[in-house]
C-alpha cells in the first residue's frame, strides 16, 4: 500500500492543481492577516471559508483523481497487489496531498505572523485538524461515488450534489424542521442532526473551542449544554473519525467486488 501511496502522492505533487490549491490558501492566509490584524478574528473568518471550501475541493479532487487514474489502476490490478492496498493507497495519496496543501498554505503565513507567541495557537491547530478531517471525509465519499459510477459525468454530478446537500441544503432542511416542530422537544433531534453532517459537526467543534456563544446557534448551544465544552470536543472528534472510517470501509468493500 505504501508504494501505491508514494506513487499517487508524487503524481499529485507534480500536478499543477496541488500548487494552485496551496497558493490559494497561502494568499487567503496572508490577506486575512493583513486585513484583520487580529489572529482570533482571522481564525473565525478562515473557519467559514474552510468549512465550505475544503469539502468542495476534496470531493472534486477525489472524483477527478479516480477517473483520471483509471488506466493506472487497471495496470496495477494486473500486478500482484491486493485490491484494498491499491485503492487505499490512492485514497491516502489524494487525501494527504490535499491536507498538506491546506496545512502548509495556511500554516506558513500564520507562523510568520507570530502564531507561536499567540494564544490562538490551539484554536488555529484545531482549525487545521478539522480541515484535515473534512479533506479525508470528503475524499473518501468522492471515491465511494466514483467507484459506484462508471459514468464520469454521473459521478461528477453526484459528487457536486453531495457537497451541495451537505454544505447548504442540509442546513436549510434542518432549520425548517426545527421551525415546523418547534412545539416538540428538539434537543435530541438537533444533536443527531448535527452528528449526521460532517460540515455541521466541524462548525460546532470549532465554535465550541473558540467559545463564542453568539455564533454557536441553537444546535451548538444544545451541544454545549448536553456534553459540556470538553466532552463535546471529544464526542465531535470521535464522530468525525467515524465519518472517515465508514466511507473508507465502503471503499475496501466496493473495490473487492468491482469488475474492471
Amino acid at each position: 500500500m505504501l508504494k501505491i501511496l508514494k506513487y499517487s502522492f508524487y503524481d499529485l505533487m507534480r500536478s499543477r492543481w496541488s500548487y494552485v490549491y496551496f497558493a490559494f490558501y497561502l494568499l487567503l492566509g496572508v490577506v486575512l492577516l493583513f486585513l484583520n490584524n487580529d489572529l482570533s478574528k482571522a481564525v473565525i473568518t478562515l473557519m467559514n471559508v474552510i468549512i465550505v471550501l475544503v469539502p468542495l475541493i476534496g470531493t472534486i479532487f477525489g472524483v477527478m483523481y479516480y477517473y483520471n487514474s483509471k488506466e493506472f489502476t487497471e495496470l496495477l490490478l494486473a500486478q500482484p497487489l491486493k485490491r484494498s492496498s491499491i485503492f487505499l493507497g490512492q485514497y491516502l495519496g489524494v487525501a494527504i496531498s490535499l491536507s498538506m496543501s491546506l496545512i502548509l498554505g495556511l500554516g506558513i503565513p500564520f507562523i510568520f505572523y507570530g502564531l507561536f507567541k499567540s494564544t490562538a495557537i490551539w484554536d488555529f491547530s484545531l482549525l487545521l485538524i478539522t480541515g484535515t478531517f473534512l479533506t479525508f471525509i470528503f475524499t473518501a465519499l468522492a471515491f465511494n461515488i466514483a467507484l459506484s459510477n462508471e459514468n464520469k459525468i454521473k459521478g461528477f454530478g453526484y459528487a457536486i450534489l453531495l457537497w451541495l446537500f451537505l454544505a447548504i441544503i442540509y442546513d436549510g432542511i434542518f432549520l425548517m424542521s426545527l421551525i415546523m416542530f418547534e412545539d416538540y422537544p428538539l434537543d435530541k433531534l438537533s444533536l443527531i442532526g448535527t452528528m449526521l453532517n460532517p460540515i455541521d459537526l466541524s462548525r460546532t467543534l470549532i465554535l465550541l473551542k473558540l467559545d463564542i456563544s453568539a455564533l454557536l446557534g441553537y444546535t451548538g448551544a444544545i451541544f454545549k449544554q448536553f456534553f459540556g465544552t470538553n466532552f463535546g470536543l471529544i464526542v465531535s472528534i470521535c464522530m468525525l473519525t467515524v465519518w472517515v472510517v465508514l466511507p473508507v470501509f465502503r471503499i475496501i468493500f466496493k473495490a473487492k467486488k468491482k469488475d474492471f
Partner: protein, 235 residues
Amino acid sequence: MVSIQDLHKKFSKNQVLSGLNLEIGEGGIFAVLGPNGSGKTTLIKCLLGMVIPNKGQISVLGRNVKNSSAYRHKIDYLPQIANFPSNLKVKELIRMIKDLRGNTTLDQGLIDLFKLKPFLDKKLGNLSGGTKQKVNLVLTFMFDSPLIILDEPTTGLDPISLIRLKDLIQKEKAKGKTILITSHIMSFVEEVSDEIVFLLEGKIYFKGSITELKSKTNQPDFEHAIASILTENHA
C-alpha cells in the same frame, strides 16, 4: 497450469460466460479464439482476478485465485489496449513496475530488441500506438513468469516488430512456459499456436489442434475452418 470449472459471469443483463470449463496443461502456446463479444477478454480478466466471476472455480498453478493476489507473481499479462498514465515517462513507468513487482534485468534486452532506447525519456501520452504496444510488451516480458497471457499482442506493430515478437514468443515457449494468446489475426494464430480454444456464447466450442479443427469442419485451411464455425452458428 490453469484449471477453470463451471465459470459464470454476467454483466448486468448480459450473460458473457455460462458454465465454461477449461484445462490448460503446462507448456505450449494456446490461442483463445472467438467472435467479438464471445467472452475472451472476460475469461482472461477472470484469470487475473480483475473481473469477479458470479460462479465457478479458477485455479492457477494449483492455487485458487479467489481473494488472492500473490499468484499474479506467476503471470505476465499484456492488456489489450495499452492505456498508460500519460504524464509518466517510459523510463519511469518501467522503474515503477519493477518497484512494484520486484527487480529484473531482462528489461534492457527487451528495450534493445524493440529499439525503444530513443523513447525512454518521452512521456507515454506522446507515443504512437505501436510504440505504446512495444512498451507494453517490454513490461510484460521483463518478468520471467511461467504463465504469459497476451491479449491481442499484434495490435499496431510494424512487420519487423511482429517478427521479433514471434521470435520472442517461441523463445519463451522453449523455456517451457505456458502462453495464452487471443487474436483476430488468423495467420498469426496459425503460425504460433500449438492448440486452439474456441469460445462461442460463453462456452468452449472446440479445443484441440488446428489439424483437428480442419478435419472437424472439413475445410482445407484454418481461416475457412473458423469462418465455417461462425456461419454455422450465426447463419
